[in-house]
């Protein structure tokens, strides 16, 4: 169900969303923009469904091409230099995040920006909702922002009777389809051009040709009317410079400039870790972000916003708000997990991740952020109770750590995330099992006993029966059971030596 219809189910105020009631294209419940964070399915059935979906192979291949283009881990010399500098810049603010945020806020306020510093996701969306209702806003034009996804902003504004339209082409496609973005930078990468054609044709009420130029023109015309009509713009923030009080937002489409300059009212939404020390730092961070995200030196546009409209100016927001929210982040400072706050949201880890690709994108993680960054970050955010087990949705291949432009040790954080999860569980079967395992396997005689047991089982129990035992049957769905009938057949060297141990047969 798309969130483009008004609360009363009338024809949308957004030109771009007209006809959305005609869209019948289905999607799994777990990819929906209306998925309640507390209600997502368990990871295993969700991922099992995801890998079997029609078209997932094509999505995987598209993501593989994008991953190969980026050649994770093979940073060219100039890219490597940028990466070193960028990694250092992103750690600077973590030393004194509050201090930098205060400077940022003070600078913005000195130029007429109303800054709201809030804690939770709920407070963030409520703050935006109040600004909109205070001004009688009925239509919001919004540019791409994962932070607004995280706080559930669009759904909240819709319940207040306010229409919200996504203006980034990929986000617009996802919105029409009623789905969450499937990748941080390419929200609709999980859809083929035929999928988009079918979707827009339903929206249009008449068939459109499977031509990206035609489809983009169709979207452009409809969205242009919304840029003109919207009373309020909402944008995200890529970097917020504390020294000058400047919000920096990158785009290729020009929609950020549109929403940030044409409506009279603008709200920028950012989580706390977007702050950077100096505006000059974007000389490093913008090329680093754009190279990692899109294999381009810069995007077509970098939009720098430092204040509300001044006397004599005829566009730019007359009223400019900046909502800065926390949602669990500052609690990470001073812990190893603070590293994830260095993330610049490039999405390169997602492109490099074989799990992400094989799942056909981020939907099957069941939360705002998918892929490696999501598996680390989502469990740490304020309102996520269901996401604590996400670090297990990963084969620990380490490609993400190589791909990260700011050198976040994602794979180590994923291992640590698993330990955190298990430490929180009440002592149960799994904890008991691993403790017993560790006792047995740190005692040589007991280790050898388990080997003998496996050897006997391998010789006496038919493979078909073995394959139905608990745990083994998880392996055996799709794979044959390994032959353990030779367990313990440790061959010896010619000398027969086991390093000084005088015992006989090594069984």
């Amino acid at each position: 169900m798309s969130t483009g219809t008004t609360a009363k189910g009338e024809e949308p105020r957004s030109t771009a969303m007209r006809g959305v009631a005609r869209v019948t294209r289905g999607h799994p419940v777990w990819s929906g923009s209306d998925l309640d964070p507390g209600q997502r399915p368990a990871l295993r059935p969700m991922t099992a469904e995801a890998v079997a979906r029609e078209g997932v192979g094509h999505t995987r291949q598209r993501l593989e091409v994008l991953g190969r283009e980026r050649a994770s881990g093979n940073w060219l010399p100039w890219e490597s230099e940028l990466r070193d500098r960028g990694a250092a810049i992103r750690r600077e603010t973590l030393r004194d995040l509050d201090g930098y945020l205060s400077r940022l806020a003070a600078q913005l306020e000195s130029r007429g920006v109303i800054v709201h510093r809030v804690s939770s996701a709920a407070q963030a969306r409520e703050a935006v909702g109040r600004i909109a209702t205070d001004h009688g806003v009925t239509l919001v034009a919004k540019s791409k922002s994962m932070a607004t996804e995280e706080i559930g902003l669009t759904a909240h504004l819709t319940t207040l009777g306010i229409d919200v339209v996504e203006t980034d082409l990929g986000e617009y496609i996802a919105q029409v389809a009623g789905e969450r973005p499937s990748h941080i930078v390419g929200p609709a990468l999980h859809m083929s051009r035929q999928d988009v054609t079918d979707l827009f044709s339903q929206l249009n009420g008449d068939p459109l040709p499977p031509d990206p130029d035609v489809l983009a023109s169709y979207a452009r015309e409809r969205l242009r009317a919304d840029f003109k009509a919207a009373q309020m713009g909402i944008c995200g923030v890529n970097f917020a410079a504390a020294d000058t009080g400047t919000l920096v937002v990158v785009s290729n489409e020009g929609n950020v400039d549109m929403v940030a300059s044409q409506p009279d009212l603008l709200v920028a939404v950012m989580p706390v870790e977007k702050v950077i020390p100096r505006l000059a730092d974007i000389g490093t961070l913008v090329p680093l972000l754009c190279t990692a995200a899109n294999k381009e030196f810069t995007t077509a546009y970098q939009t720098l916003l430092s204040g509300a409209r001044r006397p004599g100016e005829i566009d730019g927001p007359a009223e400019f708000h900046c909502v800065i929210f926390d949602n669990g982040r500052t609690a990470l400072l001073g812990t190893p997990e603070e590293e994830i706050l260095a993330c610049i949201r490039c999405g390169n880890c997602q492109f490099s991740c074989p799990v992400f690709r094989t799942l056909g994108g981020g939907h099957a993680y069941g939360t705002t952020y998918g892929g490696p960054v999501g598996a680390v970050l989502s469990p740490l955010l304020g309102e996520a109770t269901r996401d604590r087990d996400l670090p297990f949705l990963c084969s620990l291949c380490g490609a993400c750590a190589d791909a990260c432009p700011v050198k976040i040790p994602l794979d180590d954080l994923l291992v640590a995330g698993r330990a955190t999860y298990e430490a929180e569980q009440p002592r149960g079967v799994e904890s008991f099992g691993w403790t017993l395992w560790s006792r047995f396997w740190s005692t040589p005689a007991l280790y050898r006993a388990t080997r003998s047991a496996a050897r006997i089982a391998g010789r006496l129990i038919p493979a078909g029966v073995l394959g139905r035992l608990p745990v083994v049957r998880l392996w055996a769905s799709g794979r044959t059971v390994p032959d353990v009938s030779h367990a313990g057949d440790r061959p010896r060297g010619r000398s027969g030596s086991s390093g000084g141990s005088p015992e006989g047969e090594d069984r």
């Binding site: 890998v51 297990f392 620990l396 291949c397 560790s438 040589p444 061959p491 000398s495 141990s501 090594d506």
Partner: protein
């Protein structure tokens, strides 16, 4: 990451770290490893009290339990001038995680600072092996060895010394096969789907064998190929080298 020492001269004897996976399910590669090492001219001892590197528990979220088991294995390897293992992922586990689990002192244990992954040892010391094998193979780069150990050259160096052997690279040779240890049992459908991608890529090389330096990857790929009725054959690189030895061990 712990720095592993690299002596320049061939050690007289090496301790073989067998790994739990090979102990349970890969006796062939173990025998081949010993045969190759002996052909190089070292005495191979197999410390009886070794068990496991602890990786299954660490990856399942139980670091304390992992540390306990790793400690036992490091105890059994103490005093070894050189330790060789046939599993890239276990070598990577020890090199990358020992100090985190057991403290900074772990870096100076024999099992950590003197540890060699099999192809690293053979690449360094096996130049004089007389190797010939008329076969076409393709190579899968296991993740931990490639990324945590940073080693993708040694296996290819070793294969390049085998006269008559043709190595055909597969697309995305360093993309994960989907094993991931306990991941393979937690997310079987996803793990199998990843294995299928790897098998499809491997098949394009039209090789007789899919070769790797990790028994875990090989087990994942072979058991999936068998269940799916695919005629792909996997082989540990130690077995390929042993097969190629002109002078019998």
């Amino acid at each position: 990451m712990t720095v592993v020492s690299r002596p320049g001269t061939l050690p007289e004897r090496v301790a073989l770290f067998t790994t739990c996976l090979a102990d349970f399910a890969a006796p062939g590669p173990l025998a081949a490893t010993i045969a190759v090492l002996e052909a190089i001219g070292v005495e191979v001892v197999v410390p009886r009290d070794q068990t496991c590197c602890g990786q299954p528990a660490l990856n399942s979220g139980f670091p304390a339990q992992a540390g306990r088991v790793l400690a036992q294995t490091l105890d059994s390897l103490d005093g070894a001038e050189a330790v060789v293992t046939l599993a890239g992922s276990c070598a990577a586990m020890i090199v990358h995680h020992s100090t985190r689990l057991l403290g900074a002192e772990a870096a100076s244990r024999s099992g950590v600072r003197n540890l060699w992954e099999f192809t690293q040892f053979v690449a360094a010391f096996g130049e004089d092996l007389d190797l010939e094998l008329d076969a076409t193979v393709t190579y899968h780069d296991g993740c931990h060895m490639t990324r945590l150990l940073g080693e993708r050259t040694a296996p290819r160096t070793v294969l390049s010394r085998i006269r008559g052997l043709r190595l055909v690279e597969m697309p995305d040779s360093d993309t994960c096969c989907g094993f991931g240890g306990t991941f393979s049992a937690k997310f079987p459908e996803l793990s199998v789907a990843m294995a299928d991608v790897k098998l499809d890529n491997a098949a394009t090389a039209r090789a007789e064998y899919v070769v790797s330096a990790d028994p875990g990857c090989l087990m994942q790929l072979q058991t999936r190929a068998d269940a799916a009725g695919r005629s792909i054959r996997t082989r540990h690189i130690a077995e390929i080298v042993r097969d190629a030895m002109r002078t019998p061990a």
